[in-house]
């Protein structure tokens, strides 16, 4: 129940706006001003420093004709779809955790899920890089031990065009993070007990309960995770940069749009063009978020 303030009452209520003043000033100066500056530079050939030349729609025309850029959006779309699939196991984990009868064990499990979050992200990247190492790596070691691979052969997981995307997608297996699991768990715990009782009276099995009750009732949580995941995936580039380098792996096959901006701007000095790509990412993010909110149904 919020206090409804009409325009007439503003004479008394205007100081309320002061509550939002500091965040607003911060955001205008440190978010909107740089965005505005970037937007202006879409129309310039700009190396970030001394070269600054007005070229009109040049960068926009270039974006529209850039097939490698289009490919990079294809790649990021593959990552988004893969990440949707990767949401299944965390949901199942949360449901199973919810059904653990021993409350004490349930709590201990929740704490244990959180602990790996505090390990520096770089450690995960280093270990997965080592996992895919062609000569000493874990994966080829396993394949050799099972005789799928002869002792002298090695598979170049991160330098083979066909393998680098699957390798990047598989990274982080089994993709169950505390953040997602605990949010789903929160949704599950707010399902009233009598809903379960009614279902049991009707003789509903665990699968029916999952699909007819639990899944629809945690749709709110699934949707927020879906939205955050989509935004995060579309903007992500650091992991790929750390994993396969600034060129995006063999033939740039793993280049996502974010990495492309970084490369164009910092390696090639095409800052104006980088800004143009930034706005395309923004528009795609906006569109996908709209789709998520429109088509993922939430029963309130």
């Amino acid at each position: 129940m919020a206090v409804d303030v009409s325009v007439k009452k503003l004479r008394y209520y205007w100081p309320v706006y002061l509550l939002i003043a500091i965040p607003l000033v911060l955001v205008l100066l440190f978010s909107y001003y740089p965005i505005y500056n970037g937007f202006i530079h879409i129309f310039y050939r700009w190396n970030g420093d001394t070269v600054e030349e007005f070229i009109g729609l040049g960068n926009i025309i270039r974006v529209l004709n850039d097939t490698t850029l289009l490919n990079s959006f294809g790649v990021v779309l593959i990552f988004v779809i893969a990440n949707v699939v990767k949401m299944i196991l965390p949901i199942i984990t949360a449901v199973i955790l919810h059904h653990v009868i021993n409350d004490r064990a349930g709590y201990v499990y929740r704490v244990l899920f959180v602990i790996p979050m505090i390990i520096p992200a770089m450690v995960g990247i280093l270990i997965w890089k080592y996992f895919y190492e062609p000569n000493n790596g874990v994966l080829n070691g396993i394949l050799r031990a099972c005789n799928f691979l002869s002792g002298t052969d090695s598979i170049q997981w991160l330098s083979d065009e066909r393998l680098v995307l699957p390798a990047l997608i598989f990274m982080g297996f089994p993709w169950v993070g505390a953040f997602g699991v605990l949010i789903y768990l929160a949704g599950l715990q707010s399902i009233p007990e009598d809903v379960y009782e009614a279902a049991e009276v009707d003789g509903a099995g665990p699968l029916t309960i999952f699909f007819k009750i639990e899944l629809p009732l945690i749709m709110t949580q699934i949707r927020i995770n879906l939205v955050l995941m989509t935004i995060g995936t579309l903007q992500a580039w650091e992991n790929i940069y750390l994993f396969v380098g600034i060129n995006g792996g063999p033939n740039g096959i793993a280049t996502v749009p974010g990495l492309r901006i970084f490369r164009d701007a910092f390696a090639e000095g095409l800052f104006g063009y980088g800004c143009a790509i930034g706005f395309v990412i923004f528009l795609v993010t906006l569109a996908l978020t709209f789709v998520n909110n429109k088509f993922v149904k939430v029963d309130k």
Binding site: V5, L29, G38, V111, I118, A121, L126, F279, L286
Partner: protein, 276 residues
């Protein structure tokens, strides 16, 4: 929560499933500790199990590399998170409790920022930071982090504050409590789990962030842990033991923080803190 026991076997498989998932989740943690005591030869021969002798000197090396940077990192993380949350709580209270003319538009002004990719902003931001004279100072990391954190934190906190019962606010209004008293005596205590959760999430984010310190800091004595470890990683022959010892030392402050806030954090995420 105590639903009827179906069967012992079903219960066993639930525990088994969760333990297998947890096992995978702990592999990086385990390997970090395990490798931190090895030299490169031990690591390549036997990465999975501990091997003697333990190379404790890896920790001395790691400490010399990053020890001096822990204070910088903690200062940047703590300061930015504290200010971010103070402003975000007050801002979220504004959106949750008042429907002012323009509220909807203002909310959009904040939340739409989540959709704009930070990497596209790096150069204009760098120019702005330089022209404000903040280059090569910790404030170059802190102030943009405070501004950048407003969108997500206000978004999450607003949902939470909206569900605080109206009675509590009415009671304090009758007693003549001002807006700031309402925030301090009702909003903050009631939202402590979610505030704690957001704080931990932002601190972890700051701890892992290496792009902006790489961009904005020139002096080595100002540098933060993540960048120092990146340099260690990039040395000509990578010493895995030293590197992992460095990362272990880097995570100790987070472990300590987590031990203190564990209950708050688990409760915050489980209490339906983050929703759409």
């Amino acid at each position: 929560m105590a639903r009827k026991v179906r069967s012992k076997t079903a219960e066993f498989f639930k525990h088994l499933f969760i333990c297998v998932i947890l096992l995978f989740a702990f592999i990086p943690f385990y390997l970090m500790l395990n490798i931190s005591l090895k030299d490169n030869e031990q690591f390549f021969n036997n990465p999975w199990l501990p091997s003697l002798p333990f190379h404790w000197e890896n920790y001395v090396y790691g400490w010399n590399y990053i020890g001096g940077k822990i204070f910088n990192t903690a200062f940047v993380a703590m300061t930015s998170v504290a200010f971010t949350l103070v402003f975000a709580v007050v801002g979220a209270y504004f959106f949750a409790r008042f429907k002012m003319p323009g509220s909807k538009f203002l909310f959009l002004v904040f939340t739409i920022l989540m959709m704009y990719p930070g990497v596209a902003n790096m150069v204009p931001m760098f120019k702005l930071i330089s022209s404000l004279g903040l280059y090569n100072s910790h404030w170059a990391l802190i102030i943009p982090a405070i501004a950048g954190g407003q969108a997500f934190n206000i978004y999450v906190l607003r949902n939470f504050i909206e569900e605080i019962p109206q009675d509590l606010f009415d009671a304090i209004e009758i007693d003549g409590g001002s807006i700031l008293q309402q925030i301090w005596h009702i909003v903050v205590p009631m939202s402590m789990p979610i505030i704690g959760t957001l704080a931990i999430l932002s601190i972890i984010g700051q701890w892992n962030n290496f792009i902006s310190p790489l961009l904005y800091l020139r002096d080595d004595n100002l540098q933060v842990i993540s960048v120092a470890l990146l340099y260690l990683d990039g040395e000509y022959t990578k010493q895995w033991g030293q590197l992992m010892a460095g990362y272990t030392i880097a995570s100790i402050p987070l472990v300590v923080m987590f031990l203190f806030c564990m209950k708050l954090f688990v409760r915050g995420l489980s209490a339906g803190a983050i929703k759409g």
